[in-house]
């Protein structure tokens, strides 16, 4: 038995030993990731190509207009032949919910897929580093050699070219963002004639600076220290989640090749550090799952290549669940994982809601607001009058002619709405109406009353609003 003091000091030393093994990536050493081909590299290119929509989308036309346009000044969202107004904002909420849960579901099944293949930080950084490695060398050694080389015309040229390309991409990024919110072709003209609106310049400046700094300089530091998703997604893992992992049981103890041959008695890992060299965030996957891992699978490609060369089976580093690696049995199928099933249920509900919303997009928005102060007025002939404000929004693409009527209350007459009402597309028409009922006919304080707007010139649309009529006693 050791005395307590001794025990405590031993554990402290253990901690220090442990800590000395940690490598906190605070950006001190620039990560120059080697590029290799492979399955996951192809997958990554595919994921990245999705972002072409971001750059090209604004130029798609539909019916002579921009197909997808977030028209903020006019409070309209055009999506092909559908126009969504702020009144339908609940659909946006469901869409956001859908993607938020999709992120959670995917993370639960296969880890940070978003981070590895789709995230703009990952994608832009990949493009930026691709340019950099082309110009300055694709290994840390070459990069260091380039950096320490004496200043020459060629070196200056290469550096200038790199930053120019970076800035062009950054500016295109900002311009493309702005293009979703205004006519894309007009925006180009406005920028080049210096006539663009102030918000457009601010967007361009912020996105250019943001892209240039984040993708050019901060890179994986954003994933490590800025991104909330990175931390959020990590807690969505469970023991069934598939993640790029190093099969330590097979790989350890690692040992270098001896005279080009595998060292007998050692594991499969030949400690070539290829997996580290290709990692865009500079981590060593062999140390286990860690926050820096964006699960891009580059290490899998690298290790598979090495395994092939050394005539060993592939998959020393592979997508595997904790259960598979540590308990030797396959992860549970998706439908047996309550977490995934619940995510799936929410996904279906929110997606169904959006589909329902688009199918049942009302061509109008009708509200009747009864006057509250006073609730009712007695007129000189003793009858009771209520005042209403009617608001009708025309969400169709064409002007409509509307005739109002009331129903549901015996003896009620409508005043002030005799004429047809003409409403331009996208406009709200606001009118004041009065409803009168003979004094004797009002026998309760609140009676139901229905306002109906009949569209005379257009499609057969039922526009009803259930309101009420207030009276004394």
């Amino acid at each position: 038995m050791t005395d307590p003091e001794n025990k405590s000091s031993i554990s402290t030393i253990d901690i220090y030993e442990d800590v000395s093994d940690w490598d906190v990536n605070a950006g001190g050493n620039k990560v120059v990731a080697k590029r290799m081909t492979g399955r996951f590299r192809n997958l990554k290119w595919f994921g990245m190509s999705v972002w072409l929509i971001y750059f090209l989308g604004p130029y798609v036309r539909w019916d002579g207009q921009q197909a997808v346009l977030f028209d903020i000044p006019n409070r309209q969202f055009h999506f092909f032949n559908v126009t969504v107004y702020p009144q339908d904002i609940w659909m946006l909420s469901l869409t956001l919910l859908f993607f938020a849960i999709l992120l959670a579901a995917v993370t639960s099944i296969a880890g940070r897929v978003f981070c590895g293949y789709f995230c703009f930080q990952t994608v832009w950084t990949d493009v930026y580093t691709w340019i950099e490695t082309r110009l300055e060398g694709d290994t840390p050694q070459k990069a260091m050699k380039f950096k320490s080389a004496p200043l020459s015309a060629e070196k200056i040229g290469r550096i200038t070219l790199k930053h120019s390309l970076w800035l062009i991409i950054a500016m295109l990024t900002g311009l493309s963002f702005a293009a979703w919110f205004t006519d894309a072709f007009q925006l180009w003209k406005d920028y080049f004639t210096l006539q663009a609106a102030m918000p457009a310049w601010i967007v361009l400046a912020m996105f250019t600076a943001g892209t240039y700094v984040f993708a050019g300089f901060m890179r994986e530091q954003v994933c490590f220290w800025l991104c909330p998703y990175a931390r959020l997604q990590s807690v969505m893992y469970d023991q069934d989640t598939l993640l790029p992992a190093y099969d330590a049981e097979r790989g350890e103890p690692r040992g270098k090749l001896k005279k080009g041959q595998l060292d007998s008695g050692k594991g499969s890992c030949i400690d070539c550090r290829m997996c580290v060299a290709v990692c865009p965030t500079g981590i060593d996957i062999r140390k286990g799952q860690q926050e820096g891992c964006i699960t891009c699978g580059m290490c899998i490609d690298a290790c598979d290549t090495i395994m092939e060369k050394t005539n060993q089976p592939k998959g020393l580093v592979r997508y595997a669940s904790y259960k598979e690696l540590h308990h030797n049995h396959d992860s549970a199928p998706v439908f047996k994982r309550p977490r995934v099933m619940i995510y799936g249920l929410i996904l279906m509900i929110s997606f169904g809601g959006v589909v329902y919303g688009f199918m049942n997009l009302s061509p109008t928005e009708f509200h009747v607001v009864p006057e509250r102060q006073p609730l009712f007025v007695q007129l000189s002939d003793g009858s009771i009058q209520n005042k209403y404000t009617l608001r009708l929004l025309n969400k169709t693409q064409h002007p409509i002619e509307v005739q109002y009527r009331i129903s549901g209350l015996e003896g009620a007459t409508l005043h002030g709405l005799d004429d047809l009402v003409h409403i331009e597309p996208g406009r709200i028409n606001q009118l004041t109406a009065f409803v009168r009922v003979e004094e004797d006919a009002v026998n309760q304080a609140i009676s139901p009353l229905v306002f109906t707007a009949d569209v005379i010139n257009g499609p057969d649309i039922q526009i009803r609003y259930e309101s009420m009529f207030m009276g004394p006693n």
Partner: protein
């Protein structure tokens, strides 16, 4: 940052140690240090540019000369610039024209609420319905003392109005008063008797209220045959109106019913125009203008749209 040592055994410490845990001398990350200094710089610049250091009276002004009240005025100018096109057009239009123009009418209804609240709501209530029993005219029904057309409302607002029912305490016997009180209440319910009408005519009430009891808007004499009460339909209140009158200076218990003038100058101008004369000949220089002509027009449209406008 590259000088950061992760291995605690390689880093010097401050000499502080608790149970084997040493306080290391790792510097904070450089970006963090830079941020700290930048924050300090920001505060310094802010102190110089904006009012910041409190003094005994007031504070330092700052180089930008920013104050909250200036910002408020700038905001006010902005909203006035938005309203200017409407207000300019309003100045050119008559109240009648405003009423007939959908866009301008909606603008007036939306923008006049505050003006009405400041000048009218104290007596006439927020929605044109005064507190019951307060004795102020209701604005949102179809019963008008001086007329409910838009021009009449403008006239009322501009020049003000005063009721003029004489006190009858010395002119009627107790019995006649009782009968007239009953007659007035019956007339309102459409149940007036022949005898009642006879007395009404004998006592000269018809002179102002009309042979049919429907009042006279030239004089502001109310209609006695409708269901609306100028003051109150309670017998005691009706008796008080008959005995002591309205605005009768000879009777200390008389009712007071005066609508103040909000633009006497406009009232005089309207009067001159009615006779086809040059308003300049009519002005005597003493006319008050509590509200501008445009404001009067806006209020007239606003009141007209309460529901009773004719």
């Amino acid at each position: 940052m590259s000088d950061n040592k992760n291995n605690p055994n390689e880093v010097s410490d401050t000499g502080h140690e608790w149970d084997g845990i040493r306080e290391l001398e790792n510097p904070p990350p450089r970006w963090w240090t830079i941020s700290l200094y930048l924050s300090g710089l920001f505060v310094l610049v802010y102190f110089i540019l904006y009012p910041s250091i409190p003094l005994v009276t007031g504070s330092t002004k700052g180089l930008l000369g920013w104050t909250q009240i200036k910002e408020y005025h700038r905001g006010l100018e902005e909203i006035q610039a938005v309203r200017a096109p409407f207000e300019d057009r309003l100045a050119e239009m008559t109240a009648q024209e405003i009423l007939e123009d959908d866009e301008m009418r909606n603008y007036v209804i939306a923008s006049t609420r505050v003006l009405y609240g400041d000048n009218c709501a104290a007596c006439h209530g927020v929605g044109g319905q005064p507190v019951p029993g307060s004795g102020y005219p209701i604005l949102n029904n179809d019963d008008w003392l001086f007329g409910g057309t838009i021009d009449k409302i403008v006239e009322t607002l501009a020049g003000g109005r005063a009721g003029m029912m004489p006190a009858h305490a010395n002119l009627l016997t107790e019995e006649e008063t009782d009968k007239l009180v009953k007659f007035v209440i019956d007339a309102s319910n459409g149940e007036a008797t022949e005898a009642g009408w006879k007395l009404y005519n004998e006592k000269g009430c018809f002179a102002c209220h009309g042979a049919d009891g429907k009042g006279n808007q030239m004089l502001g004499a109310p209609n006695l045959t409708d269901r609306i009460w100028r003051f109150s339909g309670e017998p005691d209140e009706v008796r008080r109106t008959i005995m002591h009158g309205v605005n009768d200076a000879s009777d200390p218990r008389t009712r007071i019913a005066i609508m103040p003038a909000f633009n006497e100058r406009l009232a005089v101008k309207l009067e001159a125009e009615e006779f086809g004369d040059d308003p300049e000949d009519y002005f005597d220089g003493t006319e008050t203008e509590r509200l501008t002509e445009t404001e009067i027009k806006k209020l007239a449209v606003f009141v007209h749209q309460f529901g009773g406008g004719q």
